[in-house]
């Protein structure tokens, strides 16, 4: 265990089901690790301080703000991003519902909201409107499209 210089950290992690081996600068966020080292640019940078949720990813099944996680921390963990939602067979039901309900305008909050909503529906398939709004309180939409977003999540729920 050396702390003399900030040497890169060797990380083995599973991202969207695929194993990656990385050398990560110890002060690099998970957000930048995904975007810059792996090229997964679906996860967006918003506020960089945990208020907006644009960078939401799933870490071992719990949604987190990837701007407030270090890439070095995900060694041995599972990370799931918006790129992992659709399959060759088609869009995830949430993505399809967002299209049908026009639940986006500029789109920058959308990947984070999709991942956050999936985190809810994976555990609670039929949440109430109040529960959806509470769950998504950590995701800001600058185009103020919340009603359409909530309707799309309701549509995708069973």
């Amino acid at each position: 265990m050396t702390t003399n210089s900030p040497s890169k950290v060797h990380v083995t992690t599973t991202i969207n089901g695929q194993q990656h081996e990385l050398l990560v600068p110890p002060y690099m966020s998970l957000l930048d690790t995904l975007r810059e080292l792996i090229g997964l640019t679906g996860t967006k940078e918003g506020c960089l301080d945990g208020n907006c949720g644009a960078c939401t990813v799933s870490l071992d099944g719990r949604i987190v703000d990837s701007c407030l996680v270090l890439g070095a921390e995900v060694d041995g963990k599972n990370v799931d991003t918006v790129e992992g939602m659709a399959t060759p067979e088609g869009l995830h039901p949430l993505q399809q519902a967002f299209l049908e309900e026009a639940a986006l305008q500029c789109g920058i909050c959308t990947p984070g909201i999709l991942v956050a909503a999936k985190g809810l529906l994976d555990n609670e398939p039929s949440p109430s409107e109040g529960r959806i709004r509470h769950w998504l309180a950590g995701n800001l939409c600058r185009c103020t499209g919340y009603d359409k977003i909530v309707r799309a999540v309701q549509k995708a729920s069973s």
Partner: protein, 289 residues
Amino acid sequence: MHPFAYVAPGTIDEAVAVLNEHGDRARPMAGGTDLIVKARANAWELDAVVDIKNIPELMSLSDNGDGLSIGAGVPCYQVYGNSDIAAGYPGIIDGASIIGGIQIQSRAGLGGNLCNAAPSADGICPLIVHSAVAKITNASGTREVAVEDFCTGPSQTVLNTGDLLVSIEVPKPAANSGAAYTRFTPRNEMDIAVAGVGVMVVLDSSGQNFESARIALSAVGPTPILASAAGDSLAGKPVNDETIAAAAALARDAASPITDMRGTVEQRKQLVEVLTGRMINKAVERARG
């Protein structure tokens, strides 16, 4: 962000050794929801970040019958998702469930909330009214500090170089007791308290009289405040509107807020009085079961 080294030791001894080596240029990290923000803003220039999540003692959450032990790195969702804690310590859940949103609660915990020492921290007042104690270790041994004595100013604590918070120990609540916490915010979630109040009451066996009470206030002073005179005023008194209003007025007197973008001095003092009355009633309701 100043380039720092990342270490994730598996033992307390190793973590303390790294903290001692770097002095105030190293910090322990649990959820990182305050640390990474401060490092990114260059409020802290760090040479090393010590991730404590591989240290079993700091990640354990247990109720041994004599009380609750909350490891310093245990995230909020594990606290409010625990059915034993929900049943036995609902006042602590009142705080843990309103810190940030779901994403933040996946990572942030009560240990970090305490060490971050924000005057507005929602996690600290419930711990104070529960007479919780912070267990701190360093190279020379372990000591315990009452949570109400832990914060010494905004972002300032009793922790010295090389100190590591191990756990928060919450004694088992007395019979016929109840606790509650709430805050006032313009937005229901993802907001910072304009003022907050935590209350713990112990009633006699009839449920009609206070035996003792503790009242703590957030966001109305440089640290969370234990309003001793307000809590003590209830001891031996009957549970009624008059005794509760008198305690609420004393809580208002104990608040020493500032005017800032979140609220004025007068609004915050008024909020303390109103919320204290509400939380005493809620704690009484919980004490009566």
